[in-house]
Symmetry: C2
Subunit: 332 residues, 2 copies
């Protein structure tokens, strides 16, 4: 294991310190808990958004805290759901009286622990609603998931629901908008290499030197199949075709595109993937409204990428374009 | 070689298409040349800034095109200087009549080719000045460099000189500010793994499974030494101590910090490095004014990082904080 860490058991603690040092204009940590919240939390007069999950997906989710996106991010150990009491602390810290929306990626542990925290908050009279993101079209049911996994499409839920909340919408309205995003977003990923959970110290799977896995999850969960590495264009075709089979997009409809790097893959290659995605959209007469290329939902040092398409309407476009000011994503 | 590419000889062409598709709000490509310029170039009433060099360092430099930073980026093949005629095209495309500042990283090929382009522009009556960034304190003279190499500190030159130009300063004033940044910025990097130039198809050096190289350059040029991997804290101490030996920073002086990932190293580890950098600054009473953690100047898929410190005065702080709107860096 070759990593820039200190004690493998302290990676979360050390990382959170590093995040707070870097982004003290945006966020603060709750003492005694692995929870990051907006610096000025609770913000009165708006619904608060809380997300989170296991760590190792940075900048998700702490990097999306700030104006126009999240109010809180609850950070579990690497690839491990945060406990209900951690989530509950997050809810309490950000609730400004207008209620809290939990944005949960569809992993069984996250669902269970966020739902328990919701019950704890209910008992204290805090209004809490939850949405579950399940954008990964690769496989039904997986290592840690019943149904489909939630992956990079979650960032569009943060962005758009965050903008809706910032405009003063009610908890029910913010939830409805988040659900609209979830209904219209699909992703699929692939991996070139494995990653190493620091506490484990070794890769949890291996791929041969000429092999890739299509549809792999962000914790190394199995995808649809393994194959010999082909070209970027051929791999991209597989991902985009599968997304469009699952969610047809008609000619002249508009989409937002996210080309997400899992971490080990350089930006150069993500742009090469983007070229093919955009060519495929053009061939089909689908309009690419806005494109995001970078690392938004990573998997430790794994090499690979995912492609996300979000079908847009006028409301979603306006909210996607609304100002956001967070460490990882700024929009004017 | 396991990369998401098509033909290894077309990576630059494919990448540039992907960049233009993603960032058409910010930039356009000059037909027939590997040159990216601001969408609305030439911008009248301001000095234009051009940088560039070999590709493989994305988001440098195309990602820094936009309001408050660069006007043009000339993109050579991977790790290969762009030719003088490419640079000359960039200069012509962005000059709005107030002259052009070239920001060159200190590599012999870049210096030679940018200087030749400057001569070509001089002959056409375009006012051109140049600055050379040499922030890497690791080694004097290196594989491709006489003197010190230019690495991630270059991004601070883009940001601050870009803000100065945006305010309407003259070519001489913008150059003077760029030189002030260069005088006050120092970096040092280290690598955990090698990287593969696509056209070569294999790693140009290897590091053992428990070995790191301290002071390595962004093209895999040798650093100061190799050693067994230690902790993130110990590695960070080496980098920061060497920077501060070279450029003493007094108690109560202010610095900007950049923790730059070379690409293969996840954000989690960069934040862990940042924790130690900030602790070291605190111990010395040095004030950390602003911190950037992410991938700003990469080396294909190399794992590793660099640390950059920039000593600030009131002018530099104001220019660092000024609005920038580019694909890779946005500042309000």
């Amino acid at each position: 294991m070759k990593k820039l860490i200190n004690n493998p058991n302290n990676v979360l603690e050390d990382m959170l310190k590093g995040i707070v040092y870097a982004h003290k204009e945006h966020l603060r940590k709750i003492d005694g808990f692995d929870v990051l919240v907006r610096k000025n939390s609770p913000v009165e007069g708006k619904v608060a958004l809380v997300s989170g999950g296991g760590s190792g997906h940075e900048p998700a989710h702490g990097g999306y805290i700030g104006e126009g996106m999240l109010d809180g991010a609850v950070c579990g150990s690497v690839f491990t759901s945060p406990t209900p009491d951690q989530v509950f602390e997050g809810i309490k810290a950000v609730d400004g009286g207008d209620g809290v929306l939990l944005i949960i990626k569809n992993y069984s542990g996250d669902i269970m622990n966020f739902e328990m925290a919701k019950d704890m908050a209910d008992m204290e009279g805090i209004k809490v609603e939850a949405v579950v993101v399940n954008d990964d079209v690769a496989v039904e049911d997986s290592l840690y998931t019943a149904g489909r996994r939630g992956i990079a499409g979650t960032v569009f839920v943060h962005k758009i629901a965050g903008a809706k909340a910032e405009k003063g919408a009610s908890l029910e309205e913010v939830k409805k908008t988040a659900e609209k995003v979830i209904k219209n977003v699909r992703s699929m990923g692939m991996a070139l290499t494995s990653c190493i959970v620091p506490e484990a110290g070794k890769a949890n799977f291996t791929l041969a030197e000429d092999e890739v896995e299509i549809g792999m999850g962000i914790h190394g969960e199995p995808g649809t199949h393994r194959e010999k590495i082909s070209t970027a264009d051929e791999i991209t075709e597989q991902l985009v075709n599968r997304i469009l089979e699952d969610m047809p997009v008609a000619k002249n409809e508009e989409v937002a595109v996210m080309i997400n790097g899992l971490s080990g893959t350089p930006l150069m290659e993500l742009y090469i993937i983007n070229k093919k995605v955009q060519e495929m959209l053009e061939e089909r007469g689908i309009k690419s409204y806005k494109t995001f290329v970078g690392e938004f939902m990573t998997s430790l040092e794994m090499a690979g990428c995912s492609v996300t398409l979000l079908k847009l309407d006028e409301e979603l476009k306006e909210l996607l374009d609304a100002k956001a000011d967070t460490p990882a994503l700024k929009v004017f």
